[in-house]
């Protein structure tokens, strides 16, 4: 069981001259957390958009369960993968319950409207995420952290095998970031695959799983999060001194190092 994602020699360019990334290869198997680290503008989001089929790679291939992503219909792909973009701009004050139910679209008849079954599934997912009390609120009126959970609930009603998250913690406060990481742990334990980009190396350390570093169009460092997130790799990636320390049971990153010096 589980889903297999294989990326082989993937290259992408927006304009045909400047390559965003080149010859990226990795393999991933759900359920586990796969975190992609990289500095700003290194093509992390672009890579995710290639995987969900929104952008077409220049060369190379992306296989989901040994079938090219391009061969899937939008509907079939939605049963495998749910994608939550970094920024979502809500325009209409749809109710939270209605947004969550939209996740069922790929599993319903072409002309049918959501009914009792869809409502039950939506409520079940919202209870799992402890946001059931929000169901009748317009999702334009809730906080950014709550909206993030609504989008996750909606993705869960899709019942995908892999959840792709583009910097899911970027807009969350400190407490919500921690809660969100705990939620991801819980989702993985329930068999969900998570592929996410992040700017916080502490998060992959907390989540364990696999991490990769995307730098200068290459993804040379891939491995267990503990092996990838080291002093040398982070210092090299962000061009500042970073010290990874063990503190109790946990590993944490200290930007600038423990003694107050900022530049390398």
């Amino acid at each position: 069981m589980g889903m297999k994602l294989e990326v082989k020699d993937l290259s992408f360019s927006y304009d045909g001259c400047r390559m965003i990334f080149e010859d990226i290869s990795f393999q991933y198997h759900t359920p586990a957390v796969f975190s992609i680290l990289g500095a700003n503008g290194m093509g992390k989001s672009t890579l995710l958009k290639c995987i969900i089929g929104e952008l077409k790679a220049r060369s190379g291939s992306i296989l989901i369960d040994s079938i090219e992503v391009g061969e899937y219909s939008t509907r079939e792909l939605a049963k495998k993968i749910a994608y939550i973009p970094q920024n979502h701009y809500p325009i209409f004050p749809f109710l939270v319950i209605d947004i969550v139910m939209m996740g069922r679209a790929s599993r319903m008849g072409y002309f049918s409207n959501p009914g009792k079954e869809e409502t039950e599934i939506a409520m079940e997912k919202m209870e799992f995420l402890k946001i059931a009390h929000l169901k009748d609120k317009p999702y334009t009126d809730i906080s950014g952290g709550e909206r993030q959970l609504v989008m996750i609930a909606s993705a869960l009603t899709q019942e995908p095998e892999l959840l792709i998250l583009d910097e899911p913690t970027a807009h969350l406060d400190y407490g919500n970031q921690y809660r969100f990481i705990q939620l991801i742990k819980k989702l993985t334990l329930n068999g969900m695959g998570i592929l996410m980009t992040t700017h916080y190396p502490d998060h992959p350390l907390e989540l364990k799983g696999v991490s990769a570093i995307l730098k200068n169009g290459k993804m040379d460092v891939v491995g267990s999060s503990e092996a990838v997130i080291t002093n040398e790799n982070l210092t090299d990636l962000y061009d500042i001194n970073v010290t990874v320390e063990t503190f109790g049971d946990k590993k944490i990153c200290i930007p600038g190092g423990p003694y107050g010096e900022l530049k390398r």
Binding site: T74, R75, A82, P85, P90, I91, F92, P93, A105, Q158
Partner: protein, 342 residues
């Protein structure tokens, strides 16, 4: 509990009873008035196939003059409001209207050309209707071709629609300039203002089949319009093939609009104001918004047409009055913050 029941009764009145009442009033009242009892017997007589009233003028007035016009108002109001609601959602733009993609100016050009070359015979009505329908669709076709280059976003589509619309508006101006100012020009101007006075059963029958199919498509896909409102990326992630669904839904709305423009000319503001009003009452969910716009649109156009017919002896064109009433309502919505748009 009590509150809920009151709301239900209120909605029933607004969306079901109100249009019915306006239909009845529109059939009864005009320069020639028909009393309630007489009206009742004329309707029953028609239903059981007997002449119960010997006032032939009243019978003819209802079935030959007022009925086609009322039916025309119903088709126009329903189509423009539903298409407007859907376009505002899909284009994520509060000012989008059924005419956003250039259909109105295209149709106007088609009608103007037909009026210019027609010789005033009976076939000319048919010619004007066909020509406006054809050019309305051609204009939207050009819009789509232009928008298919580049990034294919909804923004490109709206932009292309504006450009094509302006082009056809200029062409209409050119035709007005060359048209005979005594005979043809007034006809063109009158057509462009929009009116239901020339609607006949034949015209209605001609558009009805396509009209019903288009409306049915929108009605069946209305929940999916909700998903398209979230944006391209989100909709795709939910497993909606946006190119296909957007194409079908926009196509259906365009055909619907072009059909009613071809029988009644350009009737502005219905497709902008009514969807907003409906959204204020039932919320943004298209499962409710489509039926609500449908019903309110019917009431609004019937009401405005009723005013047009009865206010003055010389009939004011419908399209003028919908604008005069519609714009202040819209300004009021914006002023009161009722147009909720994040």
């Amino acid at each position: 509990m009590m509150n809920r029941r009151l709301i239900k009764i209120g909605l029933f009145f607004i969306f079901i009873l109100l249009p019915m009442i306006i239909v009845v009033v529109s059939l009864m009242i005009g320069p020639y008035k028909i009393g309630p009892i007489e009206f009742y017997y004329i309707i029953i007589g028609k239903l059981i196939g007997k002449e119960l009233v010997d006032n032939e003028i009243a019978v003819k007035m209802i079935w030959m003059i007022r009925m086609p016009r009322v039916l025309g108002a119903i088709l126009v109001g329903a189509a423009l409001s539903v298409a407007g609601a859907v376009f505002q959602g899909i284009f994520r733009n509060p000012l989008a209207s059924p005419y956003t993609l250039g259909v109105s100016n295209g149709a106007g050009f088609g009608a103007a050309v037909a009026i210019l070359i027609s010789t005033g015979s009976i076939t000319s009505h048919f010619l004007i209707q066909t020509s406006s329908l054809a050019f309305g669709l051609v204009a939207v076709g050009i819009t789509f071709v232009l928008a298919s280059k580049g990034r294919r976003s909804t923004v490109t589509l709206v932009l292309a629609g504006m450009l094509v619309g302006s082009l056809f508006a200029s062409l209409v101006a050119l035709i007005k300039f060359v048209a005979d100012p005594y005979e043809k020009l007034p006809q063109i101007v009158f057509w462009l203002m929009g009116s239901l006075s020339a609607v006949t059963y034949e015209k209605l029958m001609m558009i009805l089949p396509l009209y019903i199919v288009s409306l049915l498509v929108i009605f069946l896909l209305r929940w999916r319009v909700n998903i398209l409102c979230l944006g391209d990326q989100e909709a795709t992630s939910y497993g909606i093939n946006i190119k296909l669904y957007r194409g079908i839904i926009i196509g259906a709305c365009t055909v619907l609009t072009a059909l009613v423009v071809s029988i009644a000319g350009i009737i502005g503001w219905v497709g902008i104001v009514i969807p907003h009003l409906a959204r204020i009452i039932v919320g943004p969910d298209f499962r409710k918004l489509v039926p609500a716009s449908f019903s309110l649109g019917i009431s609004y156009v019937l009401l405005v047409d009723f005013i047009c017919r009865n206010l003055t002896a010389a009939e004011i064109p419908l399209g003028v009055v919908t604008g005069i009433i519609g714009t202040p309502i819209f300004i009021y919505f914006i002023y009161k913050g009722k147009v909720r748009w994040e």
